[in-house]
Point group: C2
Chain length 239, copies 2
DNA sequence: CCAGCATTCGAACGAGCGTTCGGAACATAC
DNA sequence: GTATGTTCCGAACGCTCGTTCGAATGCTGG
């Protein structure tokens, strides 16, 4: 952090002045620190609002290092999101696999299907080994503008959606398929809102108990009850 | 739209060359066109992603006109959001007023409380007189970074939240108050997700009926059924 | 017709952006 | 030691950003 010299920039003859500056030698660590910083800043300020310089400075490295490892700012965003969504997708599939194996040919228990969908995202959110700024990155996935996000969103979610639609249909055999698809969107809305941390952002009005200190387990339980009841609610007849 | 001259810019002695260029003379119209363009572009690309130049060009005016009318880019965003949220807030309050007047001292019917909360936002969404790009501006309110949004969000939502929490408590007298507060957040999540237009963004997988053509009335009906059932679902006992 | 005001514009300013590039520091293989 | 490849950095390149400013335009009241 030495003061830069006031010398006018002579483009060709830069004097060698770096003496004893410790060079990092662990590329994996650099990449991780970049991903951590990107996750936090993209979540806080959005993709366009967080500059590459701010991210790399928070990671304790340089803009050129970020480009060396990821190639572009957009690629860094994709890597940031993928690092978090990949384990969630895998855990969901694994829990659903176990559920279907256990059920055999019988109808799937609805609450357990919902838990297979919701619990992995809470588990990833609470992982202590990395900063828990996972929070809003999921919400960004649903609202951030860069076009590449749209494709990534479909890729990330599409793999899971088909399987859970089938699982919900097996749990609720009499429910019309269009209604299942619509209700799944409601479920996603609830999930995104909670995962994004909006519970903490909205202080409840005077006279109402705060939600900000609620344990994840309580919120998850109530979400499952709430959504299960919604899914079971019969359709009103339309003319 | 005449071609700009290739004359090198002489800063002091600009020759008078504008002949017959029609000047607009209706400031209200200019403001409206700016708000329309800002709404669309902020929704599509986010606040940081949509440049003032892009907005003013889409509005058929100049960057300086935007500054003249609104003062700053951020103030333009606030005006854009306020123009849309104001009527929704008022309509919600009016519907709830009518509902409480009709009920007298009796318990409020839950489905009608939910309709008072949800219908106004659908109505604003479908207004034909202005571009219907209201869609994602509401979702942005919940995820966009500029700090001013946080205050605006609380102001916009806080006014409504307290009234609807009370109304829900009157509709479900036996329900614990913390559970009401939590369930209202779930309701908000569903509302934001649907209003933001994510139904159209996620094509349903093969073999599942599409949701993109569903009439608003069908979606609104099902939302009310879904959320009402969730709100009525009894709490599971915790150890 | 002329003064005063509201409205709009083009041009410029300084700052910050993502990206590129040459080279320094380090590790390894010969 | 020397050659080679990986990892990282500082500096610079264009470019676009939000904002400012002086001037031009048309309207209104005398």
């Amino acid at each position: 952090m030495t003061e830069a010299e006031r010398v006018t920039a002579s483009p060709a003859a830069a004097p060698i002045a770096t003496d004893g500056a410790p060079r990092r030698r662990n590329p994996e660590d650099t990449k991780e620190r970049l991903l951590d910083a990107a996750e936090r800043l993209f979540a806080d300020r959005g993709f366009e609002g967080a500059s590459l310089r701010a991210v790399t400075q928070a990671a304790g490295t340089s803009v050129s290092a970020a480009h060396y490892h990821f190639g572009s700012k957009e690629a860094l965003l994709v890597a940031t999101i993928r690092r978090r969504t990949e384990p969630v997708i895998k855990a969901r599939a694994a829990q659903l696999d176990a559920l279907e194996r256990r059920a055999g040919g019988a109808a799937l228990p609805l609450e357990e299907v919902l838990e297979a969908f919701l619990r992995p995202i809470f588990a990833e959110r609470a992982r202590p080994d990395r900063g828990d700024d996972f929070r809003r990155i999921a919400a960004r996935l649903f609202s951030d503008p860069p076009p590449i996000i749209a494709a990534l969103k479909r890729e990330v979610f599409g793999r899971t959606a088909a399987r859970f639609l089938d699982a919900l249909a097996r749990a609720l055999p009499d429910k019309p398929r269009q209604e299942i698809a619509l209700d799944l969107q409601f479920l996603v809305g609830v999930m995104v809102h909670v995962t994004a941390g909006h519970l903490e952002d909205f202080p409840t009005p005077d006279g109402w108990p705060s939600l900000s200190g609620l344990p994840d387990e309580v919120v998850l339980d109530r979400m499952i009850q709430f959504v299960a009841a919604g899914l079971r609610a019969p359709a009103r007849s339309h003319s």
